[in-house]
């Protein structure tokens, strides 16, 4: 369970990333975090994997309280979270299987069990045949699959994905999203920050949380029924795809 209560995050006095954010995410949910750049999506994810601490309010992730957690508790928590980034963050000098194995080695997993578990997740993401390839020998979509395999190998409760399709073409993006949906169907919660409204439109049974200026302006879990589930953004035509400049203005937004 993830719980944020009246959370604010200020990087400086004038740079407020989040304010008054309250939400809960249960295990098994698939959640899209949407909103324009600078709206606070990445900050929410950073609070969840505890790279940042809230300036105000409480963040609880699987029983760990962000404000009071010790560094060791954060390490233990991260072993139960899978984290995926737009830029993959793979170790360039290690093969796909070594990158995945790395996530097991740091947790002190028995070395005899590692090859089997690595092979299992690489098969799951469809990269069993490229296990010995270095990241530079893989396409962007394949590199992201390696990153997802690394995130999955410790059987996480939650998979956090920050713009995982941001560097991928449409076909690769669809493949990655399908993979995330499959992972969610197997019981892992997925929380994905994205710019790509097309992906959100295509997704069924996913919860959508929209942020603007650091505040939650829409949460589909609180605004049923699904048939009329229009976020301020999705309810309006988006011209030319999900790039940065195409976000339509929100009601009351003076930008």
């Amino acid at each position: 369970m993830i719980r944020l209560h009246d959370v604010a995050k200020e990087y400086t006095r004038t740079r407020v990333a989040l304010s008054h954010v309250t939400l809960q995410i249960r295990r098994g949910e698939f959640v899209f975090l949407i909103g324009p750049s600078g709206s606070g999506k990445t900050t929410i994810l950073k609070l969840l994997y505890m790279e940042e601490k809230p300036t105000h309010g409480d963040v609880w992730v699987s029983g760990v309280h962000a404000t009071t957690a010790k560094r060791k508790e954060i390490s233990q928590l991260r072993r139960r979270l899978g984290i995926v980034f737009q830029d993959f963050r793979l170790l360039e000098d290690r093969t796909a299987e070594e990158n995945v194995a790395f996530a097991l080695e740091v947790t002190g997993a028995p070395s005899s069990a590692i090859p089997q578990r690595v092979a299992r997740v690489l098969t799951q993401v469809g990269l069993a045949s490229k296990a010995t390839h270095l990241p530079r020998q893989l396409s962007g979509g394949e590199q992201q699959r390696v990153a997802i395999a690394r995130a999955l190998v410790n059987d996480p409760y939650f998979l956090l994905a920050d713009e995982p399709t941001g560097n991928l073409d449409d076909r690769a993006s669809r493949g990655v999203i399908q993979l995330l949906r499959d992972i969610n169907a197997a019981g892992t919660s997925v929380i994905m920050a994205t710019h790509d409204l097309e992906i959100v439109r295509r997704a069924d049974n996913a919860r959508t949380i929209e942020l603007n200026h650091g505040r939650v302006v829409f949460d589909s879990a609180e605004t049923p029924p699904p048939e009329t589930r229009y976020t301020p953004l999705l309810g309006q035509p988006v011209i030319g795809g999900p790039s940065e400049g195409n976000w339509p203005p929100l009601p009351g937004d003076s930008r």
Binding site: R71, R78, I83, F102, V106
Partner: protein, 281 residues
């Protein structure tokens, strides 16, 4: 085991950076080693001079041999005394002729008095002890006079104190500079692996897990750098010894201390660099 493998792989992946680290450590310790070599040789020279510090008690002519033997046995058990020698009149003449070289014919037979030459134990050749021994020896009735070159002993002792103080001060300064340079070198290798460290932390590595390979790396580089520094210092020693003047090299115990210091500095440099880096992420 995993930490050792990670440390080895990191060096294998960036051999130039590793070499640079070892060479920098080696040259920092080499500079310190050269200074230490000078200090050791000054100390050695002073010790040689110190060995010549002695108290000479001149014996009255006609003193019975058994009185002299009894006094010698008595003096030999003074805690400060290492050895007592009896130099007869003939012995004194022979020694004087030997010391004077071409002017040896100025001495005529039986012109010099017999004496007891009292050598002190190492570490007890300071002015106070020498004077105390001289005073006790003076109390024997057959002793005419006692000489120990008080001014010379005092100056030698001052020189020794100044050399020890300067050596300690300069040694600490050299060591501090070495630690700073080595710390900076290891910091570069930590920064070169900042991305890897960030990924380690993201997948749940604890601080001690992240730190371990760097500590092993620093320890090994410290030892290798120290071995190289000892080698360079030995080359410098051989050059001076064969081309300029006779000098002494470190004894094995001092070399072992140097290697331990190298390992310790490498370990300390790594520990502080990783610690400060981890604090920021």
């Amino acid at each position: 085991m995993l930490a050792a493998r990670e440390a080895f792989n990191a060096s294998r992946r960036a051999p130039l950076l590793s070499m640079l680290g070892i060479v920098t450590i080696a040259f920092s310790l080499f500079a310190f080693g050269l200074f230490a070599l000078v200090a050791v040789n000054i100390r050695h020279a002073l010790r040689n001079v110190e060995q010549r510090v002695e108290v000479r008690a001149f014996v009255s002519e006609g003193t019975p041999a058994d009185a002299i033997a009894a006094a010698m046995a008595d003096i030999a058990v003074f805690p400060e005394v290492a050895k007592v020698d009896y130099i007869s009149q003939e012995g004194a003449l022979e020694r004087a002729r030997r010391d004077m070289g071409e002017f040896s014919d100025v001495f005529e037979e039986a012109m010099l008095p017999a004496s007891l030459d009292i050598h002190l134990r190492p570490g007890l050749r300071n002015p106070e002890t020498v004077e105390a021994v001289a005073d006790r020896v003076k109390s024997y009735q057959f002793v005419d006079d006692v000489r120990y070159g008080e001014e010379w002993v005092r100056k030698l002792y001052q020189l020794r104190t100044i050399a020890a103080g300067t050596g300690l001060g300069l040694g600490l300064a050299f060591a501090a500079v070495s630690i700073i340079i080595i710390g900076a070198t290891i910091r570069v290798s930590v920064l070169a692996r900042a991305r890897e460290i960030a990924i380690m932390r993201l997948v749940g590595a604890t601080d001690s897990f992240v730190r371990a390979p760097f500590l092993i790396d620093g320890f090994v580089k410290g030892i290798l750098g120290a071995v190289l520094a000892v080698g360079l210092t030995w080359v410098a020693y051989r050059l001076v010894d064969t081309q300029l003047f006779s000098v002494v090299f470190f004894d094995p115990r001092l070399i072992a201390v140097g290697l331990v210091c190298g390992a310790f500095i490498g370990l300390l440099g790594s520990a502080t660099s990783v610690w400060s880096h981890l604090r920021r992420i």
